[in-house]
């Protein structure tokens, strides 16, 4: 079992932090868990991740890696260790920023006429395509939103066919910009856009 826990530390309910799969009895017999420092410590371009758990899987991964890479640049590894060993209030601050962006997004989009469920964790909202665009699909909605509201999101179909009907909104703009996006979305939703996005961009 391969578990992806890259957003383990971007959670918004302090009394309910996401668990590791390895907390389950016997998990080490069958599971390996992947984590990353990208989100927790805002280090995405550093490329620093971990896998932990079942010895045979860790060994197999180590074996193949020994043919492919020499590990990350040593200063990156030393700095990553300092991140893990050091004071954690920076991680708390990063979490608090995502949380308040989440709240601003959900509130301001609701006022704009777009109901987005408030995510309890991660740096993303998984937002249902507004009713009036549901039939056109998530890709078309994302394109229209970009062209008319100047807001870029990813269509849910980028994550597989069962992602249809949703778009993913990443909390990577500041609160001021999120509010601006909501104002644009409000105007956009009050328009009725009929031409497909392709025609618009061809102009």
């Amino acid at each position: 079992m391969l578990s992806d826990l890259a957003y383990a530390d971007i959670y918004f309910d302090d009394s309910n932090p996401p668990p590791s799969i390895l907390q389950i009895d016997g998990a080490k017999d069958i599971a390996i868990e992947f984590q990353s420092l990208s989100k927790t410590y805002a280090m995405p371009g550093w490329r620093m991740g971990f896998a932990a758990g079942n010895k045979h899987l860790v060994h197999a991964l180590g074996r193949i890696k020994s043919y492919l890479d020499y590990g990350a640049y040593t200063p990156i590894q030393v700095a990553a260790a300092a991140a893990l060993n050091g004071p954690q209030d920076c991680a708390d601050e990063i979490r608090a920023i995502y949380k308040s962006r989440r709240d601003v997004l959900v509130e301001s989009m609701k006022r704009a006429g777009w109901d987005i469920p408030s995510p309890p964790a991660s740096m993303f909202a998984w937002a249902p395509v507004p009713e009036s665009y549901r039939e056109k699909g998530s890709m078309e909605f994302a394109k229209q939103l970009l062209i008319h509201a100047k807001v870029a999101v990813l269509p849910g179909t980028g994550f597989g066919e069962y992602g249809e009907g949703y778009v993913r909104v990443a909390l990577v703009e500041n609160e001021h910009r999120i509010r601006q996006a909501a104002r644009n979305v409000k105007k956009f939703l009050s328009l009725r856009v009929n031409e497909p996005a392709e025609l618009e961009t061809a102009k």
Binding site: P19, F50, P75, L146, I147, L154, E173
Partner: protein, 201 residues
């Protein structure tokens, strides 16, 4: 020269690319695009972490090839973190490995364990690397509908039963729900105590 390479043909256009092209067009036309598309954190890395990088980079010996599995101090730091955060003990030598990115590590493991045609169960929707890490490794993917945790669980049973040969592996992602959904799982988690109140971050 042959140009329709076997693996490249199996990779659909990355959706991010399609949105990126439109974004680039709009920006070229002078538009200010508010960009919620990529999950690319915009905050600065905390200062003490950057300082440690610079300090270490000044050491003339730090330029050499490093350890593929990660230096021991890093694997130890991760074990200690795991213990504090999840209450799980990990042997830094045999149960922990550092990857050059989480996605890269995932794809490397897929490559390490997969034989051509092995069946792998992947939730859908999920991050592209979950399916394509295994597709690149020659696996046959069974996409399991997972719009909700309940849907994934009930479809998994069927998928396991009807996959021939039986699946090699299964990918799980966390769809965090409010409270109760995890309470049914027996855990040995001690209450989290990781947050230091020291300042200086």
């Amino acid at each position: 020269m042959q140009t329709d390479f076997y693996r490249i043909k199996r990779l659909p256009p990355y959706v991010i690319e399609e949105v990126n092209i439109l974004k680039a067009k709009a920006r070229a036309a002078g538009e200010d695009i508010i960009d919620f598309s990529m999950g690319n954190p915009d905050m600065p890395t905390p200062q003490h972490i950057v300082d440690k990088l610079i300090e270490t980079a000044r050491d003339p010996r730090s330029n050499r090839y490093s350890a593929s599995r990660g230096i021991k101090g890093l694997r130890r730091a991760y074990s200690a973190f795991y213990q504090r955060r999840f209450g799980v003990k990990l042997d830094p030598d045999s149960e922990v490995i550092a990857n050059i990115g989480s996605k890269e590590g995932f794809a490397n493991l897929a490559q390490a364990i997969t034989a051509p045609g092995d069946v792998v169960l992947v939730p859908n929707p999920a991050y592209p690397i979950h399916a394509f890490g295994f597709i690149l490794a020659g696996a046959a993917i069974r996409h399991v509908p997972a719009r909700t945790p309940e849907e994934y669980l009930s479809n998994l049973g069927r998928a396991v039963k009807h996959s021939v040969p039986p699946p090699l592996a299964l990918v799980v992602i966390r769809r965090i729900r409010r409270r109760r959904s995890w309470s049914s799982i027996s855990t040995r988690r001690s209450s989290p105590s990781r947050r230091s109140t020291r300042s200086g971050c």
